[in-house]
């Protein structure tokens, strides 16, 4: 059972990275539950990450499909200077650890890195950190993302950061 869940979680995370890299925004959104949370905390200081998004600053705190759709709309709006052109991104994920698993809920962790290449300036950046995913099995048996927390270790942003750069 756990092997099956672990495999499904692994596939889901790999698929999520692929959909981001290929800019398949609708398919990516469909991986998330309707009320999912996408959270990128900031660092409070050299050692501690923010842990309370209600009183501490986040890089991004995006709630539900509504919030995620807004970010997709912004990223694909050709009037937006930051979106034209979009950089090419490649995600690289480390092995996925199954941190906990119940019948219909799993928690995973893995390392991630991205290469963000801007074809206009020919500048490349790399961001890295780790993901914590909460994955819920729906009534149809498929696993979807209930919560994704992205930690970015190199938090001095080079120009700008969007949800698919990380």
């Amino acid at each position: 059972m756990n092997t099956d869940l672990a495999q499904m979680a692994n596939d889901l995370l790999a698929r999520e990275a692929w959909l981001l890299d290929t800019r398949a925004w609708s398919d990516w959104l469909a991986l998330y539950e309707e009320d999912a949370l996408f959270w990128v905390p900031t660092w409070l200081d050299d050692e501690a990450l923010a842990n309370d998004p209600e009183t501490q600053l986040s890089f991004m705190y995006v709630q539900g499909h509504r919030g995620l759709r807004e970010r997709i709309a912004k990223a694909t709006d050709i009037r937006a200077p930051a979106s034209m052109p979009l950089p090419r991104i490649s995600h690289l994920l480390g092995p996925v650890m199954l941190v906990s698993a119940q019948e219909n809920l799993a928690r995973t962790r893995c390392a991630w890195q991205t290469l963000v290449y801007d074809p206009k300036t020919r500048r490349k950046n790399s961001y890295a950190g780790n993901y914590e995913h909460e994955l819920a099995r729906g009534s149809d048996g498929t696993l979807r993302i209930r919560r994704k927390t992205v930690t970015v270790i190199n938090d001095e942003i080079d120009s700008k950061l969007d949800f698919f750069y990380i």
Partner: protein, 446 residues
């Protein structure tokens, strides 16, 4: 590097500004020339008052934060008696920085290299093996304290420092800026604080692109329509201050406030959508209806040369440090009234993230534009920037009703519809910029 005499000659010919009554143009070299950058660092940033931060960042004894004035690393600290200090973050012995964190708390600074120690106020408290050191007699005549910032002053919790001691008193330098600092400090009976969490970034363009953009109303409808589109899609319950923006219906004003400081201000729709709305009644009672009205205006205030307060839905303090002629570091803070109700604080943080973060829905578009400008500046044959002329017909030294009601005497003002998109506000700032460089360069050769 030209010698000071040659530099002075160049500057005396006003090569950099075409400052005629009907034609104010700046030479694009001010954004792209490395020698001018060097002059700015020395005579502007390191020549006058800079904003260092807020006293509320260091509320307790032994607290500190670090920042820069120009190229100089600085520590700002609170001692055990509650007094504030600002000094250079460089061991007096061989120069290593002794404070290694952006902020924190410590009883003492210890240089990791040869062990010299300093108290929280920067005084030297120990020289390792001093007695055995066979120092020359003159050694005792030399101060071994961390060098104090030459001028350091606190206006209502806003901390300022100057590496140049030959500057007017702070009260004089910020005389017309004060009413706008007051509009921030007085949002709560207890002042404002920084929300914990860092969202800093570096962009690949000159610092003056941020300086100008902060008080540039003209860019909003062409740079941020994608953000406006996102807001339009929300229902009334999630309204943001710009959800109902109709540029035709709004007024915008700019004031030049002396010493390079300036402000862009004006009403914004959806007053109810602001976090500050939760405190509206208390504000009216404590500061009166006129100042409350101004607190609900969008206000972007330049604290020349190194910072801006930008306020619309939420309030940002942004401090920039030029790293190179085409590279700028931004340190940004979400400020909030101390004692703000929890719900309003939560709304403020989300609105701040959305608009002001380098990971948000608006600031990245500004940054993309700055970098495009820097790329365009590489064309040396295009000399004159045409970017400081809008609003010329409305620019005046007369004191408007708006200035009178907020208690300020601007050096220059331009008030009109939102679509006027005033650019003249930068003229007085550039005059001050040039004045600092010329007077600084002259003193060097004197």
């Amino acid at each position: 590097m030209h010698d000071a005499q040659q530099v002075n000659n160049n500057l005396r010919t006003s090569r950099l500004l075409n400052d005629e009554p009907d034609r104010f143009l700046v030479d694009r070299d001010i954004y792209r020339d490395e020698e001018i950058f060097e002059l700015e660092m020395k005579h502007v940033f390191e020549g006058t008052w800079n904003l260092l931060g807020l006293a509320s960042q260091i509320p307790e004894a032994y607290d500190f934060f670090t920042t820069h004035i120009g190229r100089s690393p600085i520590v700002v600290s609170r001692d055990r008696a509650g007094e504030l200090h600002a000094f250079i973050n460089s061991c007096r012995h061989k120069g290593a920085t002794v404070c290694h964190k952006q902020q924190g708390k410590t009883r003492a600074f210890v240089c990791r290299y040869h062990g010299w120690t300093y108290s929280i106020d920067g005084r030297n408290t120990g020289i390792k093996d001093r007695a055995a050191g066979e120092y020359p007699p003159s050694f005792d005549e030399q101060s071994h304290d961390l060098e104090p910032v030459k001028r350091f002053a606190n206006y209502r919790g806003f901390l300022f420092g100057s590496l140049n001691e030959d500057v007017p008193p702070l009260e004089q330098a910020i005389a017309q800026l004060k009413p706008f600092l007051d509009l921030i400090a007085d949002q709560s009976p207890y002042g404002v604080e920084c929300i914990p969490g860092r969202a800093n970034f570096v962009y690949h363009a000159n610092w003056k692109l941020q300086l100008e953009n902060g008080v540039d109303p003209y860019h909003f409808t062409s740079t941020h329509p994608s953000y406006m589109q996102v807001l339009k899609g929300r229902n009334a319950a999630e309204a943001s201050v710009y959800s109902a923006l109709d540029p035709q219906a709004l007024e915008r004003g700019t004031f030049s406030l002396g010493s390079g400081h300036n402000v862009m201000w004006g009403p914004i729709p959806s007053r109810d959508a602001r976090p500050l709305a939760a405190m509206e009644q208390e504000l009216e009672e404590r500061v009166g209806p006129v100042r409350t009205k101004w607190m609900f205006f969008a206000r972007n205030v330049t604290v020349f040369p190194n910072a801006q307060f930008a306020e619309n839905a939420a309030l940002q303090l942004r401090i920039w440090r030029p790293l190179a002629v085409d590279r700028t570091e931004m340190t940004t803070y979400c400020l909030a009234p101390i004692g703000e109700p929890r719900e309003a604080r939560l709304q403020r943080i989300r609105q701040y993230e959305e608009f002001f973060n380098p990971s948000g829905l608006a600031t990245p578009d500004d940054v993309a534009n700055y970098e495009d400008c820097q790329r365009g500046f590489a064309a040396r044959q295009v000399r004159w920037q045409q970017g400081h002329q809008r609003g010329s017909q409305r620019s005046t030294s007369e004191i408007s009703n708006a200035a009178q009601e907020i208690g300020v005497v601007p050096v220059a003002s331009a008030i009109g519809g939102f679509n006027m998109g005033d650019e003249t506000v930068m003229q007085e700032t550039y005059r001050e910029w040039l004045r600092l460089i010329v007077s600084g360069a002259r003193k060097e050769i004197a």
